[in-house]
Symmetry: C2
Subunit: 344 residues, 2 copies
DNA sequence: TTGAAAGCGCTAACAT
DNA sequence: ATGTTAGCGCTTTCAA
């Protein structure tokens, strides 16, 4: 690659002049020389070396993003939103994908290996002189690792650190479940079955809380029999649908769309009309919700907002050099669709 | 951040010695000094500046990836596969996402803006001294842009350059469609309807060719009436299903899973048993294929293979400094599932 | 065993 | 209007 030196030699000026001209400094050279310099640069396909430039300026205008797994269904959207925010602020992103999913085959627990990988990934980003780091989790859970490099702006997204030194950006599961339950209650449903995820899931716990809160406010006693625990897979939705329908529920709130799909399958098989005889709500708002017939009501998690919020938090740390470690809870959007009907 | 100089000062040796020790050079210092240097480095959270290092070494061991849109459903997998391949070869990747989709709202045609963005993105990667670039398209189509920087190893994935100077990695649509049609023929189906995408789509064209080839080989005359053109959306699948069933087809080959879903919807509504009265094949092998009941037969595109193949091609260009611009066609995997039954 | 010195490509303060 | 110079943090050759 051509360097500034080559151009200087060819045009008979100093490297300083070339640099100034190329950076658009007014009056760095006479108009004739300036044009000549530009032309030589173009003809040599000159491209400034950003390693050298950043090294010199001690500034990269870059923030690092660590993803636990880029192929997770929501991660690309978050990344995209961060990137968009950064671009508007003259920053770029450097992505470091840990590929946890592919590497350890679903074993997401905090293993020492994971810790080492976390550290190596963060260090690598720091080595590249990023000015801050956003860590995107694969699912909502606690992370026991903190960057060992002190004093680097850091934000957790879709997960949170055990030691709350840095902020976390999350969505408000409890509130969303509360709203969903209220929609069902407003439609006259009293006996609402729940297909939860495993109790070990934080998402499940919080959604359950929202569900119970809504019932409580309407003075409907919580019936533990109506809450069943699936494994997020379609099949468990199918089986639990049978159980719950046997108990006479008029509505089912499944904690993800896949299990809601199981409910659909069961109902279709038994000729039970969804949206009429039984109301169904899902969670995640996957594409399939709208593909289904009747369209599945669901909860949309604010992925893009989480992305931009985390970028915002990083910038405020970079600018103000002060961390506000308050976690941020973003609101989900509830989409009521045809799968919800009035009780009759 | 602490530098090598700080460590040198604190330990009373030269920066050269620190550098050597930290890089594990045997006998760069006496064992006592060496240990001391290591310890000071650790206590200062020393992290080498990779800008400086790469600048000095004139080597980054990095390849750039340009994605048209990271949120496209297949892009993350390709990226992941490239990354995995690179990691095994001691390289890292630098990702540059053009965000075409978000930026131009589905307008993917070769606009001048797109050309500029392409160029700026590639230049930015070159500025970072990547040793090669992989360009990942959003869908299969011709790209009129070539990197204006001559002589940088380049590979196109999921698209191909009009001027075939660099290799392209693609999948063999025609062959897959040929195989699908044969599966249906082997099951005794003779009147096979096709729900194609728009004729402007290269994918559609090639799949059509494979379909016709299979019919031809079995001496079944091609009936243009049985090929209908949808718009890749579910609704068009639904409507065309009605038309084709009216023409008495016993099998339908939809050129994507979404339109196949439309077929499912229509059949469910009319009480037509899929896999028995009518056989259905989709394309793309989306997750939903297995979620559906009966499970939808479909064609899986070799995303990960495309990723590793493109990485392989980049490395061979980097190593051998010679471009073999032959496009590479990778084979798809046909998944025959319950939605396909024998003709009766 | 250790270090001095040069230099990667660039910028910026300070001459002239 | 143009150039000189120093230096960002690191590696590496060569000398001591």
């Amino acid at each position: 690659m051509a360097t500034i030196k080559d151009i200087a030699k060819l045009t008979g000026v100093s490297t300083a002049t070339v640099s100034n001209v190329l950076n658009g400094k007014e009056g760095a050279a006479g108009p004739v020389k300036a044009r000549e310099i530009m032309e030589v640069a173009k003809s040599l396909h000159y491209q400034p070396n950003s390693l050298a430039k950043n090294l010199k300026q001690k500034r990269t205008c870059a923030i690092g993003i660590v993803t636990e797994d880029l192929t997770a269904f929501n991660t690309p959207d978050i990344v995209d939103a961060i990137e968009s925010y950064c671009e508007e602020n003259g920053y770029e992103i450097i992505l470091a994908n840990m590929r946890l999913y592919k590497r350890y085959d679903h074993n997401y627990t905090d293993t020492p290996t994971h810790g080492q990988l976390f550290d190596a990934t963060v260090r690598n980003l720091v080595a590249k002189q990023v000015e801050g780091i956003i860590y995107i989790g694969y699912h909502y859970r606690e992370i026991t690792y903190l960057p060992s490099m002190i004093n680097i702006p850091f934000v957790y997204v879709y997960c949170y650190p055990s030691d709350p030194v840095y902020p976390a950006v999350l969505f408000d599961d409890e509130r969303a479940a509360y709203e969903v339950t209220n929609v069902l209650l407003e439609n006259g449903h009293k006996k609402i079955g729940v297909i939860s995820g495993p109790l070990s899931s934080l998402n499940a716990q919080q959604r359950l809380r929202g569900y119970q809160k809504a019932l409580y406010e309407q003075s409907i006693p919580y019936n533990a029999e109506l809450t069943r625990y699936g494994d997020w897979e379609r099949k468990s939705g199918y089986e639990i649908a049978r159980e719950l329908l046997g108990q006479g529920v008029s509505a089912i709130f499944a904690f993800n769309d896949l299990m809601a799909l199981g409910v659909y399958m069961y109902c279709m098989e038994k000729g039970i009309k969804i949206g009429e005889e039984i109301s169904v709500f899902g969670y995640d708002n996957r594409d399939i919700c709208e593909w289904y017939k009747p369209a599945l009501a669901s909860v949309e998690m604010p992925m893009r907002e989480m992305g931009s919020k985390s970028a915002e938090l990083i910038f405020s740390q970079i600018k103000r050099r002060k961390v506000d470690s308050q976690p941020v809870l973003l609101r989900c959007q509830v989409h009521t669709r045809e799968s919800v009907g009035r009780y009759r």
